[in-house]
């Protein structure tokens, strides 16, 4: 009995395997118009309506399962899209930053042409660090000695005067901003031509004071204050003339010397690209400066006239 069962089982298996192989060989070997293909097509013709009916009947089931799948997929897509948004946002910020830098460079180029800054061998630099305190009195730039930057070189941007180089390394330099108490810039009021020294206002590092103006100097609110092209001392920086510094906001007449409050034009909180005027030291203007400083007292009319130690006229052009 057991042998019979085993034999029958094996025979059934062998039969089915052989049948499958015959089907496979015949189907694979025949042309598309062959008998088995025709049977398949006939089966399909018969079954198609049933399949269609089943398809329609099962559509809600499919949709329901699909809904779950779609929900999971949508969650995955949402996460992916969030990551993409983050990535694009970062890219946008980088692009905006680049655009901003580009505009600054364009403006610098415009300022170059307007003031003939190119005579001072300007070196474009990027601000890489800002002083962490609220006074923003120093920034660090990415150009240094290797690019020809020296101590006391004037630093400008597209809006106007920024400050001067205080310390220099081979590939970086520290710039002291015009809002630092150690900086004094010889300046003049654009319209009247009255000259004085621009220094930060005590107690308000974001505001400047144009001091030592002659008592009869005229100044109006909104007038521009620009560099005069002179130096206040032999060691000071010789800023090229006519670089915008700020706008007059108010006039003080209390003391013997008149002074005016000046709001700086350059946004010193958001510096990005600046230019260092590297030829201001050792170039013609600074040579003139040294020459003027070496002259005996009294031979320099401006120094005695204004009492401001104005040493020489700048420009060199």
């Amino acid at each position: 009995m057991h042998d019979k069962t085993v034999r029958r089982r094996r025979a059934v298996l062998a039969l089915l395997v052989v049948l499958s192989l015959i089907l496979l060989s015949a189907y694979f070997g025949e042309a598309s118009g062959g008998g088995l293909h025709s049977v398949q097509r006939g089966f399909l013709t018969v079954v198609s309506p049933i399949q269609n009916g089943a398809n329609k009947a099962l559509k809600p089931v499919r949709d329901m399962i699909g809904w779950f799948g779609d929900t999971l997929h949508a969650k995955g897509q949402r996460d992916e899209l969030r990551k993409q948004v983050d990535r694009l946002r970062r890219q946008l910020v980088a692009d905006e930053s680049e655009k901003h830098g580009y505009h600054e460079l364009l403006a610098l180029y415009g300022l170059d042409k307007q003031l003939s800054i190119s005579d001072y061998h300007p070196v474009a630099a990027t601000v890489v660090a800002k002083s962490p305190n609220v006074w923003y009195s120093t920034v660090t730039i990415d150009k240094g000695e290797s690019s020809g930057v020296h101590v006391n070189d004037p630093v400008i941007n597209d809006e106007g005067l920024i400050g001067k180089v205080a310390q220099v390394a081979s590939d970086g330099a520290q710039v002291t901003l015009i809002t630092d108490s150690s900086v004094g810039v010889s300046a003049r009021i654009g319209a009247s031509g009255a000259t004085g020294i621009v220094q930060p206002k005590v107690g308000d590092p974001n505001d400047l004071l144009l001091q030592y103006l002659p008592a009869n100097a005229r100044a109006n609110r909104g007038e521009y204050v620009v560099t005069s092209g002179t130096v206040a001392s032999p060691d000071d920086s010789l800023y090229p003339p006519d670089i915008p510094i700020g706008q007059v906001t108010s006039i003080n007449e209390e003391s013997a010397y008149r002074s005016v409050n000046v709001h700086p034009l350059a946004d010193l909180h958001n510096l990005d690209v600046v230019q260092v005027l590297t030829a201001a030291q050792g170039s013609l203007p600074s040579n003139v400066s040294r020459l003027a400083a070496s002259l005996p007292a009294g031979s320099h009319p401006e120094a005695t006239a204004s009492g401001e130690q104005l040493a020489s006229t700048g420009g060199g052009k």
């Binding site: 069962t5 029958r8 089982r9 059934v12 298996l13 089915l16 395997v17 049948l19 499958s20 192989l21 015959i22 089907l23 496979l24 060989s25 015949a26 189907y27 694979f28 088995l36 049977v39 398949q40 089966f43 399909l44 079954v47 049933i50 399949q51 089943a54 398809n55 099962l58 089931v61 499919r62 399962i65 699909g66 799948g69």
Partner: protein, 190 residues
């Protein structure tokens, strides 16, 4: 046919096979999970073999395979051959080991699915189907096995529920008989 097997379960198997194949074609194949669709036919055949024995398993494998090949306009005989072997193997497993562990359907389902996919791929390669043996193919097989294993338990419940009662030697009855006729019951041994 297994001893004591009547035509009633065969009819149930046939109806179940038709329903499952159409459900497979109409629904399951259009619902991808992890990028692959579950394949219910090897599970169906393996569970029929596990419940009904090797002969019925092999025969149902052949029939289901033929139905799939006809309905999907595939090379006739490939799926039949594959599922015949799957059904026979599952039936022999039942006849030789009679596994009763709760995880049996999962393991049998995974093995049947993996074996069927690998064998099917080999036959297709032998037939000269132009497809590279790549990591993608391995990934598809592995994911297919995972997905089939996930649906193995519901499929097992469906097949068991559909066939139970009409089986020649229902495992539950067989166990009950074994315990009550002495010798095999753990209680009688103790």
């Amino acid at each position: 046919m297994s001893p004591g097997f009547s035509s009633a379960p065969l009819l149930r198997i046939a109806l179940l096979a038709i329903a499952v194949v159409f459900f497979q074609i109409g629904v399951v194949s259009e619902v991808p999970l992890f990028g692959v669709s579950a394949d219910l036919s090897p599970l169906l055949v393996a569970f029929v073999g596990l419940l009904c024995g090797s002969t019925v398993g092999a025969a149902s494998g052949f029939a289901v395979g033929l139905l799939v090949d006809l309905a999907l306009v595939q090379t006739l005989g490939v799926t039949s051959l594959t599922l015949t072997l799957v059904g026979y193997w599952a039936g022999r497993l039942r006849e030789l080991r009679d596994p009763q562990a709760a995880l049996t359907p999962l393991l049998v389902g995974a093995a049947a699915s993996g074996g069927a996919m690998i064998f099917y791929s080999i036959v297709q390669f032998l037939l000269g189907v132009d497809a590279p043996v790549s990591l993608e193919l391995v990934r598809q097989i592995v994911l297919g096995v995972v997905v089939d294993t996930i649906v193995a338990l519901p499929m097992w419940a469906l097949v068991r529920r559909s066939l139970i009662g009409g089986l020649p030697d229902d495992p539950r009855r067989r166990r009950r008989r074994a315990y009550t006729t002495g010798g095999l019951s753990p209680l009688s041994r103790s």
